[in-house]
Amino acid sequence: MEVTAPLAIEVKNLGFRYPGNPDATFSNLNLKIPKGERFGLFGPNGAGKTTLISLMTGLLSADEGHVRLLGREVGRSSNKVNRLFGFVPQEFSFYQELSPVENLQFFGAWSGLSGRTIRKRTEELLHILGLEEVKDKQVQKFSGGMKRRVNLAIGVIHNPAILFLDEPTVGVDVQTRHAIIDYLLELNKNGTTLVYTSHQLNEAEGLCRQVALIDNEKVIARGDLNQLLKHYQEESLEHLFLRLTGKQYRNDV
């Protein structure tokens, strides 16, 4: 697939291996994600999804090649690059002892926002994500779904141009999942590029336009979701996934 639109993310000739592991996790990997896209990254456990997101967000450094976010190379001038994206990790990445407001105040400051902007965005996000009533309670007392919403709110407080989401809806109820997906679609309408990874393939079908399937650290299929389904004559992403990656167990050690 040749991408001609302005790129949000460009992965070029990427090579990476974990220290002490002689086998390369990625070798000569190339990927282009246009601006404003809703991009899904899927694969079995241990396929390398989280590693690839870590390389895109600068949590890991590439051994070869490079990743560019909106034209800026990840790893160089990291503060400038880090302003461009938001990250919603799979783990609850906030302070459980603090309330949603206190977490947003702190992470807002670290995202480079002014006190005034933090207050405004905090108010907006608490309202959108239904956390107003519990805004001053310690997050550690929250249910899993509420914590997921806090996790998401922190990731988007600075209105990032690109948003990386690593299984943002894992372990949440249907209502929370719908609220999160609706909010992500809203963000995308306003221009945010979404890079999403999940094992919830039904949910992904409703969210992603473009997908890439990774297995054994290689991109085994990529492109427009509808075109891929048509090409492989499969009725759903889940069937396509099983066809391309097989049904055998994957032990991710």
Partner: protein, 426 residues
């Protein structure tokens, strides 16, 4: 940058205030420790100086020397003499000590007077002969049987040695008296007058104990002056449990991952933690010193006397606190889990405090342990505090200790920096 630092400091204070266990460990535990240890050491001090150590004496001797020895032991002043019947055997003696009726027991053998007398006459005869005088014919006397001192095993080595010294001096007094009497009788063929005897036996020079101090500042050493500075240092270094744990929690909870993806260096987080926890260590010192000054006299302990150079005290406390915080950060950065941080942190603090001289004076250590004291920051901190609290030292007197502490602090900061770099955290 200042806004980020302010936000981080507020966050760290909030997290700290909600860590009730951490606060208890940092404040309540050292307070209990300083009160308990000072009270116990004060009791030990009073046991010797005011209270008397109970000693059970079984005098099987019917002569004068045995009675004189009992009197001499009593006169030392450090014992409460309990007399056991002459028929007391060793088993009954041991039973009395197991029941804690007495911590010590002395058995004076039945032939004690006879042997002391024979020995004295023999020495007197030898002395007269060496003076060229004709004395009684010299009879070779056998050795006096050793006195058996029984002791309860809970009695510490130092206490036992001082008891042995005291009994030995009483024994020497009795033997000297007998020798003197024999000598006098051999020359004058009459008894030694009591007045002369007392003059001759009690003419030893007195001993004045004078604590060495600087510039005329005279602080009486006591358990408070020793313990409050020592346990304040211990408390400051014990922030490793809270701060080390806080860093590990941040790393393993996932907040670290997010922090790394934000446009702010983690150094801001480290500076904030140092500011907040330095404040905690200073608060700990203020609380413990205040207790020493105002609370201790109410619970029967000697009050803490602050050094005359308060500025030096503040400087030493700030540098010591910074060193303690640096150590805690270093442990937190390298520990993989909360258990590692807590376990290593707590054990290492106990080891560093032991080799640093907080529990046993470093001058009493030998060989490699004495050298090892130099690498313990607590060694330099306690030396500085002792100089200020006990010797009346000024800032100039503790400058070397401060510089040593600063050097260790900078090394710890550098190691922490390398650890963060290696883990790609900054």
């Amino acid at each position: 940058m200042m806004f980020k630092l302010k936000a981080t400091i507020i966050k760290d204070i909030r997290v700290l205030l909600r860590d009730k266990v951490g606060i208890a460990l940092m404040f309540i535990m050292p307070i209990i420790l300083v009160v308990v240890v000072t009270s116990i050491q004060n009791s030990t001090f009073q046991l010797i100086s005011k209270n008397k150590l109970p000693i059970l004496i079984c005098n099987k001797d019917t002569g004068q020397a045995g009675a004189q020895l009992v009197k001499a032991i009593d006169k030392i002043g450090m014992f409460k003499v309990l007399k056991a019947g002459a028929d007391q055997n060793e088993k009954l003696m041991a039973d009395a000590m197991h029941q804690k009726d007495a911590m010590l027991g002395v058995v004076i053998p039945a032939d004690f007077s006879a042997k002391v007398s024979a020995k004295s006459k023999s020495i007197a005869g030898k002395a007269l002969k060496s003076f060229g005088l004709q004395g009684d014919s010299i009879k070779q006397a056998g050795d006096i049987d050793p006195l058996n001192i029984y002791y309860n095993p809970v009695l510490q080595e130092s206490m036992r040695l001082s008891v042995e010294g005291a009994v030995r001096s009483a024994l020497q007094l009795v033997e000297s008296r007998e020798t003197l009497r024999s000598l006098y009788f051999s020359i004058n063929e009459k008894q030694l007058p009591e007045k002369l005897e007392n003059e001759m036996l009690n003419n030893s020079a007195g001993i004045n104990e004078i604590p060495v101090s600087k510039e005329g500042v005279h602080v009486a050493p006591n358990s408070t002056q020793h313990n409050v500075p020592a346990w304040t240092i211990f408390a400051m270094f014990f922030v490793v449990i809270s701060l080390g744990g806080s860093v590990v929690r941040e790393k393993v909870s996932g907040s670290f991952i997010r922090l790394k993806t934000l446009p702010t260096s983690y150094l801001v987080g480290l500076v904030s933690k140092q500011i907040v926890y330095l404040g905690v260590t200073l608060l700990q010192a203020a609380v413990i010193f205040s207790m020493g000054i105002w609370l201790f006299p109410f619970i029967g302990l000697p009050a803490l006397n602050l050094p005359s150079d308060l500025f030096a005290l503040v400087v030493v406390t700030v540098v010591c606190g910074w060193c303690a915080v640096s150590y805690a950060l270093c442990v937190g950065v390298f520990a993989q889990t909360h258990e590692q941080s807590n376990g290593f942190g707590a054990v290492s603090i106990v080891i560093l405090s032991t080799i640093g001289g907080l529990m046993v004076p470093s001058f009493a250590m030998q060989g490699m342990f004495k050298s090892a004291a130099d690498i313990s920051p607590m060694h330099w901190a306690i030396q500085a505090y002792y100089s200020l609290f006990l010797e009346g030292g000024k800032l100039g007197d503790v400058l070397n200790y401060i510089l040593s502490l600063l050097l260790i602090t900078l090394v710890l900061q550098f190691i922490t920096f390398l650890g963060l770099r290696r883990k790609n955290l900054i």
